[in-house]
Symmetry: C2
Subunit: 280 residues, 2 copies
């Protein structure tokens, strides 16, 4: 990026139901594809626009506070651009803010943590049809004590290979900072499971949820969970939970002074020679 371009930070949310995920794919409707198309059209650009995102969500996964960056030719009127984007975009995507990115900002590599929430209804919940696009229903009653005790064993720095789709050249070592399930007060009867990590590999949240739900619902015992979490590769008895229960809720960044340093560290640890498609 030279002096002809300026980097912008986009804060946005979307209902992932009718998208094939974040990342651009040929002949598929994706959030990135929709945004890049309209940014380019609204600004009448000849060159392609490329967005970089904090959390590359899979098909059907939602986001409340997703963050992306984009380099645009200098001279963009961000207020007018934001207003025009809101007019043309589907109401399934809302761009909350478009602000000049601080020096060294990279939406993906500057991020220091991502917070996801997975929502469940069990047999003790009262499902609310108004929220059925963002909650997964399970037939059993979930033992939250058991669920959380098993989940606690995953906290800290570890290799999450048993829960990740392998990607050549990319590490599956992550630091899980928080994992806790509780019955929400704002969505009565709904179980909200919060997961915070420095980053997540592809399908990691939904695989961890699949293993913990199996234990919490009594389908599997603690021995099984121990085998799963200590396996060297993705365990074929772990179900990947449905996408619709998952929402990216927040992305954390360091102070402006530390943005560039953080980006350089993260890039060297995680960047792959092949383009990734998973959640970050």
């Amino acid at each position: 990026m030279g002096t002809t371009h300026r980097r912008w930070r986009l804060d946005l949310g979307y209902d992932g139901t009718n998208f094939s995920g974040w990342a651009v794919q040929p002949d598929r409707r994706t959030v990135q594809g929709e945004l890049e198309h309209w940014l380019s059209r609204v600004l009448r650009l000849d060159e392609p626009v490329r967005l970089v995102v904090a959390g590359r969500t899979d098909a059907g996964v939602h986001a409340r506070a997703q963050v992306a960056h984009v380099d645009l030719p200098v001279g963009v009127d961000s207020t007018a651009l934001l207003r025009r984007l809101r007019r043309v975009l589907s109401d399934a995507i809302v761009v909350h803010a478009l602000t000049p990115a601080p020096d060294g900002f990279d939406a993906r590599f500057s991020a220091i943590w991502r917070r996801y929430v997975y929502r469940l209804w069990d047999s003790a919940s009262t499902p609310d049809p108004l929220f059925r696009h963002m909650v997964t229903l399970i037939p059993e009653e979930l033992d939250l004590g058991h669920f959380n005790a098993a989940g606690n064993q995953l906290l800290g720095l570890r290799d999450f290979a048993p829960f990740c789709k392998p990607r050549s050249g990319a590490t599956t070592i992550r630091t899980l900072l928080q994992l806790h399930a509780e019955r929400a007060e704002d969505l009565p009867g709904t179980i909200e499971c919060t997961l915070v990590a420095d980053a997540f590999c592809h399908s990691m949240v939904r695989s961890v949820m699949g293993a913990l739900v199996a234990v919490g619902a009594g389908r599997r015992d603690d021995n099984w969970f121990h085998q799963v979490m200590t396996a060297e590769l993705r365990h074929n008895e772990v179900l990947v939970m449905p996408a619709k229960g998952l929402t990216l809720e927040e992305v954390g960044y360091p102070d402006e002074d530390h943005l560039a340093r953080r980006a350089a560290e993260a890039r060297s640890k995680r960047e792959s020679t092949t383009p990734g498609t998973g959640n970050e």
Copy 2:
């Protein structure tokens, strides 16, 4: 209803988005139509099943705690029926409970109050795409103090004819018990306007909201509101707000001892010779 039948109370919720309202209509998908169809099929009844409901919601209006009653032949296993209904019904309708109705219970006429919430995003809100099917967006910022001050003037027993679609033979006199708008804590930035009345006439909530939003958003002044609320007939400058923002949240019933008496009183005050289609 003789000794061959027993009355049941249904507690249910639905996402009204894809229904032409509660009440059965030829060739339309309605909540009542769907429920009556499946009750009859699951129980293999020869006679038609007829549901009576507390709040006859319009097309696109939602319900979280709707109440209905139905008279079914004796011998129904309610646990099995509830389980089978859940299996066959669209996930846009959830029957929470199916319980024997107490003596004298009438879902419509025994009810002593209905609580509706109308949800809005204004220019000070951060719209969340995940809730766009249940919130109406307005371009201005709403002055809640002004909105509530105007709304207070409607409290108590009065003729709501200026806000109701007329129905021959039916009174438009209602008692508005509560009307209050505030920014919700559980849906950040969303304005929730709660309206409680003994009953509502057709389109009353959405017309009252239309008048109050016009005042709160600064499109109309207090003189205009006074003219509207003291008009003898439905005022043609009052906009009926979109259905999707409206949800029936709760229905109140008296103690079992007073159910039959309440039903007789309400029926004599409100029942019309023509079948009604509005919210009650």
